[in-house]
């Protein structure tokens, strides 16, 4: 491992504004049809956005789709299968969307008749507009990276560890990439890649990351 990275690690964060699409679903077939039509940022909003907003619920509802099919449609088989899906395991929104559609299609083949949501409990599709900006902190060494992670907000950690998978396109994160490519520490990077991202709070995630980075070599 090099004492100083060849490039600094720049800490970023995000601010989101939610945009309403006007699209709604009242039944499982309608949900499937809308999921096909909506933008990738809408799929992001209802999967990754749900994880960011409700980390404590990550083990029960890994997406808004899982929550709605459970709480509102009370279609347990599809709700359980959707809840079992971990969005962070998918390297792209396209693959995530395809998997969600497959789960719903399978259910519709099993059970042709579906119950509609009661009035007022329709699924409303929204999408996220993301503003990404640097927070003005950088790290050139491992101790500086540790300090930065201690200081980082929950949003910044989510951006670098969870959302990063979509940007990088494989099952890794910004920290691992920097550790491996810039600091020459591929073992540390591999250990970070193995972390379970479906934790119950961002603080848990921070502690897990720190435990890896601060473990004796």
């Amino acid at each position: 491992m090099r004492p100083v990275g060849t490039e600094p690690f720049l800490f970023y964060t995000t601010a989101h504004i939610v945009e309403l699409t006007g699209r709604t679903a009242r039944t499982l077939p309608e949900l499937r049809d809308r999921i096909r039509e909506v933008t990738g940022s809408s799929i992001f909003h209802h999967t990754f956005g749900a994880l960011q907003d409700r980390p404590f619920a990550a083990h029960r509802y890994t997406s808004d789709f899982a929550r709605w099919t459970s709480e509102v449609l009370q279609d347990w088989p599809v709700a359980e299968r959707l809840a079992f899906m971990d969005p962070t395991e998918f390297p792209s929104i396209r693959e995530l969307r395809e998997r969600i559609l497959q789960v719903i299609d399978d259910r519709l083949i099993e059970e042709g008749e579906t119950v509609p949501a009661p009035p007022g409990r329709e699924f409303h599709f929204s999408q996220t507009i993301s503003v990404i900006y640097p927070v003005g902190q950088e790290a050139r060494t491992l101790p500086e990276l540790v300090t930065g992670i201690r200081r980082a907000s929950a949003r910044s950690l989510f951006f670098h560890l969870v959302e990063a998978r979509l940007r990088i396109g494989r099952c890794t994160n910004d920290l691992s990439c920097w550790l491996s490519d810039s600091l020459g520490a591929p073992d540390l990077a591999r250990r970070l890649d193995q972390l379970d991202l479906l934790v119950t709070s961002t603080e848990d995630l921070r502690q897990q990351v720190l435990a890896v980075l601060e473990a004796p070599a």
Partner: protein, 412 residues
């Protein structure tokens, strides 16, 4: 209007320094841009309360922000009251002459007010026609709709819509409250201020003082609903649920609401509630005067369980307040409540008197579960429904308006 001074740094103990620095970082990308907020009342109501918080904080962030209140006579506010009811789905007759008054008063305000700004935010329907006075090449105009317009009276909505579509964007509190529009629709949830008198931290001694003052003994679990005395809040249903629960668990009930003396319907509902309570000493019906924020804060914090058994609801900020105070909440799945109460995680959603009674018993028998719901609820509000989050959303929206059509905006 000159709202009280507030500093963003005051929120550091609540949300942490990193979150505050990130808001400052976002605001720096907008530094110097002027913001104008326009609404129809300087005091009273949720919008004025919101602006009293938002405006000084935007100023603290380096965005010069003005607040203008439109003026109108009784005839004007009579029309706007009708419009408000029509947007809520009530059938009202609004003559063309009334709409003429509405437009003329807005034209007069447009002549009197300085509407030049980089971002103009018009709150609710009363000042909506001001958009007609927008100058070419002026700033961005956004209509912030705080009311639920999902089931409006069609002719009234058609009249208003003609103005709405002239804006650069609209903002609603929840997807369920919006209409299909050809302009961009953003969503910003309502929020609560953790430093306000209604939500600030309170010591045990102060809570006990308030309870003593209100004549409530803290000698058994307290089940509370804080709501105005309105049939849509189903206070009689709450009493029925409490009585069912009381068959097997010991508790007392508090129904706390505002004074109903100037509201004939409220007075009638209050009378119904009193009849339903039938003088039972463990049912406390509290008519609180205006500005009872400290009392409401103490009552919510003293409660073992908070109920919001509404039949219809707006966003339901009383639920937000209870969640913030780590109280376990039992609430109806109506309006904006399911956005806040994730069933079995941040609270319990119910659909009947019996369901409410069942859940009161469950929570009183299982304090560990109640505590877990309360802790989750607090975290959820911290993430989504605080003043600081509201501020961040407005800043992100302002940046988004400068980058039309972009869904991922990268700033240096």
């Amino acid at each position: 209007m000159n709202p009280p001074s507030l500093r963003l740094d005051d929120y550091i103990p609540v949300v942490g320094i990193a979150a505050i620095e990130e808001i400052r970082g976002l605001a720096r990308r907008l530094e110097g841009r002027r913001v104008l907020m326009v609404n129809s009342t300087a005091v009273g109501g949720g919008v004025a309360e919101l602006l009293n918080r938002l405006i000084p904080l935007l100023g603290d962030l380096g965005l010069p922000t003005r607040w203008e209140v439109i003026r109108g006579d009784d005839a004007f506010f009579g029309v706007t009251k009708h419009i408000h009811n029509a947007l809520h789905g009530s059938r009202v007759e609004i003559a063309k002459s009334m709409l003429d008054v509405f437009e003329e008063v807005n034209r007069a305000n447009a002549r009197a007010l300085d509407l030049t700004s980089d971002l103009v935010v018009i709150h609710d329907p009363q000042p909506l026609p001001l958009i007609a006075a927008r100058e070419n090449g002026g700033g961005r105009w956004v209509w912030r709709c705080h009311v639920d317009i999902s089931r409006p009276q069609p002719d009234v909505w058609a009249f208003l819509r003609h103005y709405v579509v002239q804006y650069d964007g609209s903002v609603f509190s929840a997807p369920e409250f919006s209409q299909v529009l050809p302009i961009t629709q953003y969503m910003i949830h309502p929020s609560i201020d953790p430093l306000a008198a209604k939500n600030r931290q309170m010591g045990r001694g102060e809570i006990e003082d308030v309870l003593a003052h209100l004549g409530i003994r803290d000698d058994r679990p307290i089940v509370t609903q804080v709501s105005r005395f309105d049939r849509l809040k189903d206070p009689v249903g709450v009493i029925q649920a409490y009585r069912l629960a009381r068959r097997t668990v010991d508790c007392q009930l508090i129904l706390a609401g505002g004074w109903a003396t100037d509201d004939p319907e409220g007075a009638a509902v209050l009378e119904e509630v009193r009849r339903a309570a039938d003088g039972e000493p463990l049912i406390h019906i509290l008519e609180l005067p205006p500005f009872s924020d400290r009392e409401i804060n103490a009552l919510q914090r003293a409660s073992t369980v908070i109920i919001q058994k509404s039949l219809r609801e707006g966003f339901g900020l009383t639920v937000t307040e209870a969640l913030w105070k780590r109280r376990p909440v039992i609430a109806s799945a109506v309006g904006g409540i399911p956005l806040q109460v994730v069933h079995n995680l941040t609270g319990l959603l119910v659909h009947s008197v019996e369901g409410t009674a069942h859940r009161i018993r469950s929570l009183l028998r299982d304090p560990a579960f109640a505590r877990r719901l309360g802790d989750n609820g607090h975290e959820y509000v911290k993430t989504r429904f605080l003043t600081t989050g509201n501020l961040r959303s407005w800043l992100a929206l302002a940046i988004s308006l400068l980058h039309p059509g972009e869904r991922i905006i990268r700033l240096t």
